[in-house]
């Protein structure tokens, strides 16, 4: 099933919501006062985004977007990555385009010339380093199958899709088109479940995707419990194993400071978290996926993929913001993994 990546122009092509992050510190009382559920992502409309922004403290803008962060992580690891996502032809859209390209990711999606502004994610970082996201999708919400460049997807060893995309009908079609194009080209399809609320809303659809369309599944513990409607991680793990043993798929299950568990067919590997001083957990999952996918693209064994993911995630949580601040390739080399 796993084709060699030798003929691929890109190791991984990510498709997701193209967003600029607006990061500010906030305390738990602020989250409570505005009914924000800590550690989750909620979709909000423009009016609510404007109202919340007005209440937000002084902020910093950085390009974000879950799959986009992952592609930047792969480039920082020395891999070849591409990205597909929708921005508008406005200042924040220019910021998004500049940053992802400056990080070494191929990004050629045309900017929308009408409709909503470039999307943004208001990220509230609490003193315990957890992030709570309120996202106005804006232009990203208008992604359609036409935005999915079939040549880029077919030329990528792996296509990586955000669960966050699985909401607007046209974006679902875009998602399915990308998976179909990838499989027809003999490529692999990876999916991250993104958020427990996403899973809650689309459980049956995500189960179908995971079982029938996806070669590599990324999920954190909360998302996994929600997907299988179980109470314990171990129960969920047995379900994943049963599914993976049947299809030969892989799953990378992240557990914050408990590390990760990698399932590959009927193998199970337990990977420790890398020690890190936690400043802001924004991007931890995104960069774990970057490390894992980079290892996969290089043909490394599952546990090594998880280890690279752990190293990349540790870098992400050691500073404010989701994108790496130090070259990940050097950190991985220093750790002697690859």
């Amino acid at each position: 099933m796993a084709p060699t990546a030798g003929d691929a122009r890109f190791d991984v092509c990510g498709i997701g919501n193209a967003l600029v992050d607006v990061l500010a510190r906030a305390d738990d009382a602020f989250l409570a006062a505005h009914a924000l559920a800590k550690g989750t992502m909620s979709l909000i409309d423009e009016e609510r985004a404007d109202a919340l922004y007005a209440l937000m403290g002084p902020a910093v803008e950085r390009s974000g977007g879950s799959a986009a962060n992952t592609m930047v992580g792969i480039a920082s690891l020395g891999g070849r990555s591409a990205y597909i996502g929708r921005v508008r032809d406005d200042q924040l859209g220019a910021v998004f385009r500049h940053d992802i390209r400056a990080a070494g990711v191929a990004f050629d999606s045309a900017a929308a010339t009408s409709g909503p502004a470039t999307g943004r994610s208001l990220i509230f970082v609490t003193p315990d380093a957890h992030r709570t996201m309120q996202t106005y999708l804006g232009a990203a919400n208008g992604l359609t199958p036409d935005d999915v460049d079939a040549d880029v997807v077919a030329a990528s060893g792996i296509v990586y899709l955000e669960g966050y995309l699985w909401d607007p009908p046209a974006a679902k079609e875009a998602f399915l088109k990308a998976a179909r194009v990838a499989h027809e080209a003999g490529r692999r399809v990876a999916l991250t479940l993104s958020d427990p609320f996403c899973v809650e809303r689309y459980r049956e659809e995500f189960l179908d995707l995971a079982r029938n369309h996806v070669d590599v599944l990324f999920a954190n513990e909360q998302e996994l419990l929600s997907l299988y409607r179980v109470e314990s991680f171990d129960d969920a793990l047995q379900r994943v194993r049963a599914d993976a043993a049947r299809t030969g798929a892989m799953a990378a299950l992240t557990r914050s400071e408990k590390g990760s568990v990698v399932v590959a067919g009927d193998e199970v590997h337990v990977v420790d978290a890398e020690p890190a001083e936690v400043v802001d957990t924004t991007g931890a999952g995104d960069l774990y996926a970057a490390g894992f996918l980079h290892g996969l693209a290089r043909g490394l064994p599952p546990a090594a993929c998880g280890r690279i993911g752990a190293i990349a995630a540790a870098e992400a949580i050691s500073h404010f913001g989701a994108r790496p601040e130090r070259p990940l390739a050097a950190l991985v080399a220093a750790a002697g993994v690859a």
Copy 2:
């Protein structure tokens, strides 16, 4: 000369170029390849800004502007500050407005509805923590006397002006209007020389301003040497003393890690720098001025003003970006200054 601030609605009103900072790391080879003079600020046009931005690495956007940073610093110290500056009604203008207000600064300048976009300063931070700025003024370049709200200036104990403003003819008029309104209301006028190249271009005019229109002068060592065309700090200091003894004015002269020297009439005070781990010097001078002005507004003696400036500057250089990340009032209280 110095009126009591008791009747003032604001301690300080800053007037300057309203800019969004675009910060990225760069090495010395990059500066050399693009003929950028380390540690200085150059004004560039939109075309050059676009070309440099395309060459810049992944960046972070934060609201900036020298006098705006100073006003944010004063708010963080617990003072009452206002700001006057020109942005456009675009996304970066909204970011600037949000951040300065969220920091507690009164900012009611209307956004321009036509003309150039909100200005931005491309800031290259080298591994030695020095910052090199390439600024496209955009909308800020269009500041006119009409933008100077005389009521706000007259209601502020001190009006604080950037030397950076002293370039477009209409901004010079705005500058002089603000100084006139302040003095007519019995307020004080403070000026920072901003940059050695500014001083080089307008030496005679700055000397005239410093000697005849300004009650509090801020300058760093390079700017001071350029202003008086002398080779040594001590020579420059004697000139400042002669001027200050005649007019009764104050001068706060900053010397990076060597601390600062405060001249007040015929007094001279030497103030040590606060120890800090230097990450990025962006904003050091801006926050020194914030601390100094805050002390002045509270009627503290000159050396104490310099000490508060040093504490605020140490906070600014300990992180990436020009605006304070920790409440300055708490740092000053912990140091037992005020």
